[in-house]
């Protein structure tokens, strides 16, 4: 941090005189107010729709709040009771947290690996084939999470899906003999496939954009020094692309931690199979199926806190890399 800070200030100072030149004093004063006027609508929207609800959810998490409290318009503070109850619940530690964290880690690692391999491969192709492949990847990216989930559910349908039919055809398994959606591991294997399929295109496209900026000379110099392709990747590509890789990892981590639709829409994922619940689904069903908005808020706050810790760590890494 200490080495990066003066660098950041230098650049800002460098930009400022350029702006002041040729701007008359009256306009300079107006320019002081102008950015805030331009920002006002956006800040109001974000404040009302995102920040204020976050305050409210924090407040709700300290209450035993049900629909009757809303109707009566009263509050029902219980201190940290909800937190104690959630954090001492073995269900959190044995089922929900592993489902959330383990799943996210596996998804981020796989998404990054697949995305990077695809980007490196695309980088070796000629323009025509590269754009054909990029378009195909765009299709995978564009398929909405909602419909993508249904496609995977259909592919793995225990009665007449493609996968069971193929296994049946090979004589390995009988159609209808097993339901993959009731088992925690196979449920999450299918969800992982779905999330990685949906997530790798962003990584591939972003990494490809980065790869094209790495000067060829660096590779040539490394090759002259006798570095293998593997070494060149780790010693040239990765360090040069560090800011881009950091952004990709941050974004996929955030996306994969708060996966909701892809779990919720799978059979049993809406809370009816308790052992496949993750933090998001747990919070949602506590609130909207059980009507315990206070408890649901507590779980939501814990999920948000988890995401915030990750985000802060990553943003600090990111801020070292470049001026925002």
């Amino acid at each position: 941090m200490s080495t990066a800070a003066p660098d950041l200030r230098d650049r800002q100072d460098g930009a400022a005189p350029l702006e002041r030149r040729a701007v008359p004093p009256g306009r300079r004063l107006r320019r002081g107010l102008a950015p805030w006027l331009l920002l006002a609508p956006a800040l109001i929207v974000l404040g009302v729709l995102l920040l204020w609800p976050m305050v409210r959810v924090l407040n709700l998490s300290l209450q035993d709040y049900e629909l009757k409290n809303l109707l009566r318009g009263d509050s029902n503070y219980v201190g940290l009771d909800n937190y104690v109850q959630v954090l001492t619940d073995p269900f959190l530690w044995q089922i929900v947290l592993p489902n959330t964290v383990g799943f996210a880690i596996v998804c981020v690692v796989l998404t990054m690996a697949v995305g990077t391999v695809v980007a490196l491969f695309l980088n070796t192709l000629g323009t025509a084939w590269r754009s054909i492949c990029t378009t195909a990847i765009m299709v995978a990216w564009a398929v909405p999470a909602l419909t993508g989930t249904y496609i995977f559910v259909w592919l793995f349908d225990p009665q007449s899906g493609l996968v069971i039919s193929a296994l049946d055809g090979l004589g390995l398994m009988e159609a209808g003999s097993v339901n993959w959606f009731t088992n925690r591991w196979s449920f999450y294997a299918i969800a992982t496939l779905n999330v990685v399929y949906h997530g790798f295109p962003f990584i591939a496209v972003t990494m490809l954009a980065g790869l094209t900026t790495v000067p060829d000379e660096l590779y040539e110099a490394a090759a002259l020094d006798g570095a293998s392709a593997w070494t060149r990747f780790w010693q040239v590509t990765v360090p040069t692309l560090r800011p881009i890789i950091a952004v990709c990892v941050i974004l996929s981590t955030i996306w994969d931690f708060k996966v909701f639709v892809q779990i919720f829409l799978m059979p049993g994922g809406d809370g009816s199979t308790r052992e496949v619940m993750n933090l998001g689904v747990w919070s949602y069903t506590q609130s909207f199926a059980q009507g315990e908005y206070g408890m649901g808020s507590t779980i939501a706050v814990l999920l948000t806190a988890l995401l915030m810790v990750i985000s802060v760590v990553y943003i600090r890494t990111l801020m070292k890399e470049e001026e925002l």
């Binding site: 950015p35 995102l50 007449s160 193929a166 808020s297």
Partner: protein, 275 residues
């Protein structure tokens, strides 16, 4: 790197084939199930057992999916217009002005994107209930404005920053006011970015599920995502209809993405500044 031996060419061809097959297969499976005469007995055959449009007909005519499409379009277009306007102003502020707290504002915009929707759905549901905004498409549009805004600002900021300052300064030298410069210089040059951002806002609203599920209880106001769930009954799913409806949902998004991709690839201000 540019060695062209038969072995590397063969490897590349295999790579392209595998990549295309894997990335397009789920999409193909959706399309081919949607036009299959008997999807449930198709098994593992790669080609549909017969071609038919009856699933689409069933979905659009009998099941009233067209109504859900109309609702989703209204909400998504409302979101696009509102978030495009608000985000553009904010993007100009952060890309063009150096002011105190600028970095903090940017970090905040980045941070709010990380707030999980599951955490917002509870307070916003309670708020909407108090305000009588449940079952209201306006309420849903306003919520989507909030979700699409942060990304829109972040995205547009790059496009605004890419417009050369010299063009703006030239306008000022010619005596243009800030507003005049904004309309005649900045807006036309940022237009491609605005298109890209609009597409992403549209997709955010079009694809959203949790809030549509929670806020809208009146069946006549279902969005496409929630409407899709009506094709599932207790234990069985009519997969032909589900995939036909999924195709209707996915197709505009896929087309948009492919179009925007080309738009993004073009140089934004190529040729605007010469000499």
């Amino acid at each position: 790197m540019n060695r062209r031996t038969p072995a590397t060419t063969a490897a590349r061809v295999i790579g392209v084939v595998v990549l295309l097959a894997l990335t397009l297969f789920p999409f193909y499976w959706m399309l081919s199930t949607a036009v299959d005469t008997s999807p449930l007995s198709r098994g593992a055959s790669l080609l549909p057992s017969g071609l038919t449009l009856e699933h689409f007909e069933h979905v659009l005519v009998d099941a009233g999916f067209l109504r859900y499409v109309r609702v989703s379009l209204v909400v998504a277009l409302g979101t696009v217009v509102l978030s495009g306007a608000v985000a553009l102003l904010a993007a100009v502020a952060v890309a063009r002005f150096r002011f105190r707290l600028r970095t903090q504002v940017l970090v905040m915009v980045l941070m709010v994107q990380m707030v999980p929707l599951e955490a917002l759905v509870i307070p916003l549901f309670l708020q909407a209930r108090t305000l009588g905004m449940l079952n209201s498409l306006l309420g849903l549009t306003i919520v989507y404005l909030g979700f699409s805004l942060a990304f829109a600002i972040w995205n547009l900021r790059g496009f605004v920053a890419a417009v050369p300052r010299e063009l703006e300064e030239a306008a000022y030298v010619d005596g243009a006011s800030w507003w005049r410069m904004f309309r005649s210089i900045l807006l036309p040059l940022v237009a491609p970015g605005l298109v890209a951002t609009s597409v992403f806002s549209f997709i955010t609203a079009w694809n959203e599920f949790i809030f549509a599920l929670t806020f809208i209880q009146d069946g006549s106001k279902y969005t496409v995502g929630v409407g899709l769930r009506t094709f599932f009954t207790q234990n069985t799913a009519d997969w032909g209809s589900v995939m036909a409806a999924s195709t209707i949902i996915a197709l505009p998004v896929v087309l948009f993405f492919v179009l925007v991709q080309r738009n993004l690839a073009k140089g934004i201000t190529a040729g605007a500044v010469k000499g």
